[in-house]
Point group: C2
């Protein structure tokens, strides 16, 4: 059974003093292995999204499992992973015409894929690139964020023609991110619809690969047929949003933030930690809470501690609520200086708030740090 005070003791043994991002390497490697095996079974290329972890060391865990291609969401991430030996990267954000010279520099040294959905962007790439780049056409299969709607065959045709006519651009295929799968009642159903819509567009275009990327779809469905490439990312760590949506189990949660208690208020069943929006992000669960507490056992993370909710957040403070008898009994024994382990609501956003991870074995794993200009 996970235990609040035993967790605090173990975190002290890790010499933790302030909010620290921990990763359970065993769990993360297990999550990676599961997806690598599923992709192999499905005969689909796994090009995992590295925006969740943004760490060359975590990327190496993917490498150890046989992964050689990855997806990123910014030029800076692409450069970082290229610097760490990744030779085949897709930048799965709509290309930014203001960064064409930077893309060109990168394309000189790796196999770079870019994403477009606008003639102006294709023209900017066509005129600015001196090195070959793979070009994906962004296809909107229902999320409604970016891309050409899958049924708009005229625009799909026109844009593919523009890509094919552009020097240094090679049409790779249709790429979609079915982000609505994250909030769908039935993510497997959304995934199935996504695949059908991509195939519908492909039937018209008659060329190119089909690439889809979202953890909920790939995690809940074994049938990946019709796809050539899978780009999920969150699965490496998962988080409470995925748990709430039944996309993962609690024993797959692989990152969490160790936080010091700085206030204890039994009269209102609350404790306060020095960890707020700047550490955890303001992403909330459906009930409005910002996190739950995990246990830390002998060999790694344990389950969720019942009755503890991170109820409110300000810039640097988090307010923990003890609900029910067990949590309230634990609260009475809590002291400033104790440490708790907060499971994040959305691991991609929480990890972004830290420069590095600490593994439970005490290793420091640096992360890419976003450049401001």
């Amino acid at each position: 059974m996970p235990d609040l005070l035993a967790t605090s003791r173990r975190l002290r043994e890790h010499a933790i003093r302030r909010a620290t991002l921990l990763v359970d390497e065993r769990r993360a490697r297990c999550n990676i292995k599961t997806f690598v095996q599923r992709a192999a079974s499905a005969n689909v290329i796994l090009r995992p999204h590295f925006k969740t972890h943004q760490s060359a060391k975590v990327a190496q865990w993917f490498g150890d499992a046989g992964v050689t291609r990855a997806t990123v969401s910014s030029l800076g991430q692409a450069r970082y992973f290229a610097d760490h030996g990744w030779q085949d990267l897709t930048l799965a954000m709509g290309a930014n015409p203001r960064e064409v010279a930077d893309y060109d520099d990168l394309a000189a040294r790796i196999d770079l894929g870019l994403l477009v959905d606008h003639p102006h962007t294709i023209a900017a790439l066509a005129s600015g690139l001196n090195h070959p780049v793979g070009c994906w056409l962004d296809c909107d299969t229902g999320y409604g964020r970016t891309g050409v709607p899958w049924h708009d065959t005229d625009r799909l045709h026109d844009l593919v023609s523009l890509i094919e006519d552009a020097p240094n651009l090679t049409f790779r295929g249709l790429l979609t991110h079915a982000g609505h799968g994250y909030v769908a009642e039935d993510p497997a159903n959304t995934f199935s619809q996504t695949r059908l819509r991509l195939q519908e567009a492909h039937t018209v275009l008659k060329r190119g690969l089909l690439s889809a990327g979202d953890t909920p779809g790939f995690a809940t469905t074994r049938d990946w047929s019709g796809l050539d490439e899978a780009r999920p990312g969150n699965f490496v760590f998962y988080d409470l949003m995925q748990l709430e949506a039944d996309i993962c189990t609690a024993d797959q949660l692989a990152c969490a933030v160790a936080c010091p208690v700085i206030g204890v208020y039994p009269e209102r069943q609350e404790a306060v930690i020095h960890a707020g929006a700047v550490h955890l992000s303001r992403e909330a669960l459906q009930d409005g809470s910002f996190g739950r507490l995990l246990g830390l056992g002998e060999i790694g993370f344990e389950g969720l501690l019942p009755g503890w909710e991170l109820e409110r957040l300000s810039q640097e403070h988090g307010i923990l609520k003890a609900i029910g008898d067990q949590a309230r009994a634990e609260l009475v024994n809590l002291r400033p200086g104790n440490l708790v382990l907060v499971a994040p609501v959305h691991s991609c956003l929480t990890c972004e708030q830290f420069d590095c991870y600490q593994t439970l074995a005490g290793e420091t794993l640096p992360r890419y740090h976003r450049e401001s200009f």
Copy 2:
């Protein structure tokens, strides 16, 4: 009149390629001057909170206006500003017993104030400090986050006695953060109540200074009587939350994020920028939106562009909605590669996402970067 495409042109002249945090120095200095003058008129010490800007250069603008004391919200910030010459800092977060040795190092070189509300924390400081530290007692005047309730006179007395008995701790007074003023119908009324409650506690204790800190209270009220010290912070830049609550005017907004457009979708009255939760934070206005667009004129930021809302955010994407005829007409002329200027919902959280500011004069202002361990 603020103009979308003229703003994009001017941002291009600033050589902006990707999401960049801009500060309008003239506006920020003007905001600082206003508060310095009000504090002088009220005969109250201004100890501004530097957690909003976290920049030694911006701190110098305060220094230029005569400010010599400041407030911070982490040990790391305190070290950073001490390294930049600030000799009198209050760390206005409940002290963390795990950082006592670090506080002691800092207290060896500056005049350090700490905040407590628990006997265990006072005991940890008493046993671990070798250098004198000023000790504030955290008083809860109604926010309900941290501190001893103002009416709990027994606990206030007991804790003051513990502080006074501890070697190297000097009781400074009662410190409160009336954070509920940020969401109050009438912040001036909350402020008045806060002052009365602090004075009520002071009448019982008969010693120490009274320190309060929140921008809404100090910005909406000229009568600061009863207080010794003011610790507002947000006022240096303000933001859309403050504007929505009538605490500032649009011409006081002093920071914004320049962002590249990467997608344009006139059929759904939307455009997409490469700036998401990792750039802007997920803090939302009451209508659920994540930002508005500002104009950039010849001499600095202009007003809000009517009809533009940052309607949705994902990790790296922001979805702009054009509402009304003017914004829709502007949308038709928008292209990937254009630049827009997003006024943040909560400037403290948005600025935290960047390493540095760029002034409109082209100067780079580095920010404190949070240490991960």
